[in-house]
């Protein structure tokens, strides 16, 4: 069976939401069991006392990327049908910085705040509420921001195309970067004073 299954019409519309629920459960379970429901653990990455986020995040991205590339190579999945997020340069950079500020202030990101909500973290609930208001504000102020939101569109480009590398080379490069990061963060973590939380 060549994936992706739903766009190929192999799985019917009725099963969509059941699968969404199951995938969500797996996602939530893994995030929570990794400790992503704790804002202080998440914030650790910025102060060097806990790099769990980075490890989980990098490992996940690399596993999925390598898996996707091999699946595509073996013809199990049609890579051309995989959604590639479009790049709007200015909006992406400004949005990312605002998210970074929100991350350090609130200690969560949307997915992890959901995990926090599920196990009863009140700060996570407040964070989610804040996010709700934030999206509301954004939507109301959209006419003001529209210019930034839609400027510098690069289309759905892949990073290896921008860098002029082949997919495989870029994947290898990213793996090496990730392994180095894992190694360095381990040293940093050992040097930084432990924080009790």
């Amino acid at each position: 069976m060549t994936g992706p299954l739903i766009p190929m019409g192999i799985i019917g519309q009725g099963w969509d939401l059941v699968i969404a629920l199951l995938i969500g459960m797996a996602f939530g379970y893994v995030l929570e069991s990794a400790g992503f429901s704790s804002s202080r653990k998440l914030a650790g990455i910025f102060y060097g006392y806990d790099f769990t986020v980075l490890r989980v995040f990098f490992t996940a991205a690399i596993t999925a990327m390598v898996g996707l590339l091999y699946f595509g190579y073996m013809g199990w999945i049609d890579l051309s049908m995989i959604y590639v997020n479009p790049t709007f340069l200015i909006a992406a950079i400004v949005g990312g910085l605002v998210m970074g500020l929100g991350f350090i202030a609130g200690g969560y990101c949307p997915g992890t705040s959901m995990c926090g909500v599920a196990i009863g973290k009140i700060d996570a609930m407040v964070f989610t509420g804040g996010m709700f208001v934030g999206i509301l504000i954004f939507s109301e102020a959209f006419p003001l921001i529209q210019g930034i939101y839609e400027s510098h569109s690069l289309g759905a480009v892949k990073v290896n195309e921008v860098l002029g590398l082949s997919t495989g080379t870029f994947a290898l490069l990213l793996i090496i970067i990730a392994l180095l990061t894992f190694f360095i963060t381990r040293i940093v973590e050992n040097k930084v004073k432990k924080v009790e939380y």
């Binding site: 629920l21 069991s33 202080r40 959901m114």
Partner: protein, 177 residues
């Protein structure tokens, strides 16, 4: 804090690399099934849009931004993401229950009060909400899924979110350590 304390805690959470690997598998399965990655902020956006549309339908239809998601009711991913986030809540609850982490509390650094922490969380959520719309997705939707599919947007999001975090980390240090 004693050494045994740390080892004790380490037993509570799964090995991060194993978690990452499993998360990667979940992401891979999501790509295999839906052709898109995971997401979280999209679900909240759907909730916002739905709420606004319920309160004042004409306002939602008139707004440039809401109308993108209302008129386009054949946009299945919105609905999909809502169910996925419900799944996240259920999965996280299950994991928390199994590990005995279910407890209603405010987690904060001993140097600040719960109140400060909640205010900061609210502000953070607000900023994250705005940023996720501007950046067309959050850490899971754009950065993680985008990296896996090698989208440029994913790497920009990764660098700016964490870069932004490090940039502002100094000013917020007293809230965390």
């Amino acid at each position: 804090m004693t050494n045994s304390n740390i080892i004790d805690r380490s037993k509570r959470y799964t090995n991060p690399y194993l978690s990452g690997f499993l998360l990667g598998m979940v992401l891979l399965a999501t790509f295999y099934i839906t052709g898109r990655g995971l997401g979280a902020s999209g679900a909240i956006k759907s909730t916002v849009v739905a709420t606004v549309a319920t309160v004042s339908e004409s306002h939602a239809a008139g707004s440039d931004y809401y109308s993108k998601f209302i008129s386009d009711d054949s946009h299945p991913m919105n609905n999909w993401l809502v169910f996925q986030v419900i799944g996240v809540l259920a999965g996280a609850f299950l994991s928390g229950a199994l590990a005995g982490r279910l407890k209603l509390k405010v987690e904060h650094s001993p140097k600040i009060t719960s109140r400060t922490r909640l205010i900061m969380a609210g502000i953070g959520g607000l900023l994250f909400g705005i940023g996720s719309q501007l950046g067309r997705g959050c850490t899971s939707g754009t950065a993680l899924s985008g990296m896996a599919s090698m989208a440029l947007a994913g790497f920009i999001a990764l660098l700016t979110i964490f870069g932004g975090g490090y940039l502002f980390a100094y000013f917020f240090r007293k809230f965390w350590i």
